[in-house]
Amino acid sequence: MNRMPTWADVILVPLVSLLLAAFFSAIVLLAIGENPWEALKLMVEGSVGSTYAWGYTLYYATNFIFTGLAVAVANHAKLFNIGAEGQAQLGGLGVALVCLFLPFPHWSIALIVAICAGALFGAAWAAIPAFLQAKRGSHIVITTIMFNFIANALLVYLLVNVLKPSGTMEPATASFPDAAHLPSFNAMFSSEETVRFRGAPANVSFFVAVAACIGVWALIWRTRLGYQLRAFGHSESAARYAGISPTKIIMVAMLISGGLAGCMAINNVMGEAERLVLNSVEGAGFIGIAVALMGRSHPFGVFLAALLFGFLYQGGAELALWASIPREMIVVIQALVILFTGALDNMVRAPIERIFNRVGRPPKPERKLEPAE
């Protein structure tokens, strides 16, 4: 069978999947008596219509870049990391601990230390499921799900009993000291005449996320380790035969994956909330699955998909604010994207492949004899 051209594989198939997801989302909106077109206009206005809106869209996109990359790196080694949610929660814990208890002279040093702490905690949380998969053969999907719940319980315990300042009711840490505050886009891009990104949470972490995309690209396609990772993902037995240690690849892939998920905390915990609150991740770890699937596990694809989900997330929040469409509509759209780009991929791909095969096939040689009428 002929292969599809690359552009069809990386652009056309995800685009058709996306259109299908959008189509079904529109049906859901119609069913609850809303006008999908009006809803789309509201979403566009609310998510890219002003620098304020962009500030939110890019803030969410930053979260999703980190978790999307986390899922993508694991995907390359054919490991399905559902645990980005828990790993990002633990990353938040790491970031909160260094921000609260270390005195920093400047935010840039705080940022570097926080990246290390977040990555370390996230990676540590991924290390146990990775070890169990590599050494004991426990299915990584199940263990990472379990670790999400354990992380949640752990965070509730720590916030309620240990980290909460005395005298407050809310389960959250104290606010971070000023030196650990990251510059927001508002502070970075506003000139004296014009104020940009006023009140929006986007901050310098966005550029860290972009750097992480480039770093992951270089890692996957330009290093020996990345080659081993992909080889392992394509065929474990072939990789093993070529002398690649499965234990090493599983561990390394999951450590990087968990580290990336943990890094998300510099955006939501350090950049936005400036303290650690309960459920700080807000499902971004799961959206990372959708982002990685959409982006075909390529960092550039992840970047675009994260922007799209940032747009959906912020647009969805605006919908909840201005129209009577609940915020959960985003979850439905997210589910449809995961369904069509992930689970029903073959349904979308097969017909497109067939079309290409028909068009691309060389013309049949003329028959010598026409069948008699």
């Binding site: 399905f80 319980a153 959960e328 689970a343 029903l344 991929d345």
Partner: protein, 323 residues
């Protein structure tokens, strides 16, 4: 701690274990047929929502139960379509179904009832009430056995009894019928089943249908059986995953599934009564530890420290008939 308190905790255990048990058996059928199902949570949630909504609208709890089953079956059909017909990734499909149910139930509930994503309160006629078994009142005063019968065994809703009856039924179907043999075979070696002339697709779809029915009942139990009185946003609260954990804990066997679910139900019941633990062992046990315990125990089991949990061999892999 006196007998009555103990019985109350055990009574709560039975009630809390029921949705876990139904979902666990649902997962058992599906996974024994080689279809991984992490969408149990979503199907339960869908079942819970539609059963409560229809019970509230029609006033009939039985119609509600039927509707809950239909909702779970529809979600099952998506899973079947993705994982059997289009040979997609079963795990991703399960994740999608969970999110789909989580979002859609609230969106529909909000537009239908306008109560912030919940269904209207169910009155006494439109939810499953506890059944008083024959003789429970009369035997109540018999020492020890009387209270056990009255408090623990009697007084549950019909769905609880159904759930417990499905355990031996599952065992019988799985190990004593031709269908069960084929079902187990298709989860271990689908090619052999195919060679024997039995439809792999048909068997797997049948398993998914059973899975849908059971998760639908589980959802209905959550939302429409006393003391529940309607659907609340995200009301499954991870029970689908606990059921999954119980399934692994039970190593995909029905009787063990019952015990695993009772154990996890007991932990949930204890979580509701932190005062009791303190009274008995003199230590304050964190509620978070209790809620995390099923997951921790499952990880330990999965790690193979307490016997190895080996899933059905063909689980998670789509079957390709010919190459």
């Amino acid at each position: 701690m006196d007998l009555l308190t103990l019985l109350q905790v055990l009574d709560a255990t039975v009630r809390l274990a029921t949705p876990l048990l139904l979902a666990c058996l649902a997962g058992l059928f599906s996974e024994r047929a080689g279809i991984f199902d992490i969408g149990l949570e979503g199907k339960m949630l869908g079942g819970a929502f539609l059963s409560a909504a229809i019970a509230a609208v029609t006033g009939s709890v039985w119609l509600g139960l039927g509707a809950g089953i239909v909702a779970a079956l529809l979600l099952s059909a998506i899973h079947g379509l993705a994982s059997i017909t289009f040979r997609g990734n079963q795990l991703i499909s399960g994740v999608a179904i969970n999110f789909f149910a989580q979002g859609l139930t609230v969106v529909i509930a909000q537009s239908w009832f306008g109560q912030g994503g919940r269904t209207p309160q169910l009155g006494d006629g439109s939810r499953f009430a506890g059944l008083t078994l024959p003789g429970a009142e009369a035997l109540r005063d018999v020492p020890i056995l009387g209270p056990i019968y009255y408090e623990l065994i009697s007084g549950h809703t019909i769905l609880v009894y159904i759930a417990f009856l499905i355990v031996p039924l599952t065992w019988w179907v799985l190990y004593r019928t031709r269908y069960g043999l084929r079902l187990r075979a298709v989860g271990e070696n689908p090619a052999a089943v195919d060679t024997a002339g039995v439809s792999v697709r048909g068997l797997r779809y049948s398993a998914i249908v059973i899975c849908g029915v059971l998760t639908g009942i589980a959802g209905a139990q959550l939302a429409t059986a006393e003391p529940a009185a309607g659907f609340i946003k995200d009301m499954t609260a991870g029970r689908g995953y606990i059921a999954l954990a119980a399934l692994i804990f039970a190593k995909w066997r029905p009787w063990y599934a019952l015990f695993a679910c009772l154990l996890f139900g007991f932990l949930q019941a204890l979580e509701l009564r932190p005062d009791l633990i303190q009274a008995v062992i003199g230590l304050r046990v964190q509620g978070q530890l209790l809620s995390a315990l099923p997951y921790i125990m499952t990880v330990v089991i999965l790690a193979g420290f307490v016997g190895k949990a080996i899933p059905p061999r063909a689980g998670g892999e789509p079957y390709v008939k010919e190459r």
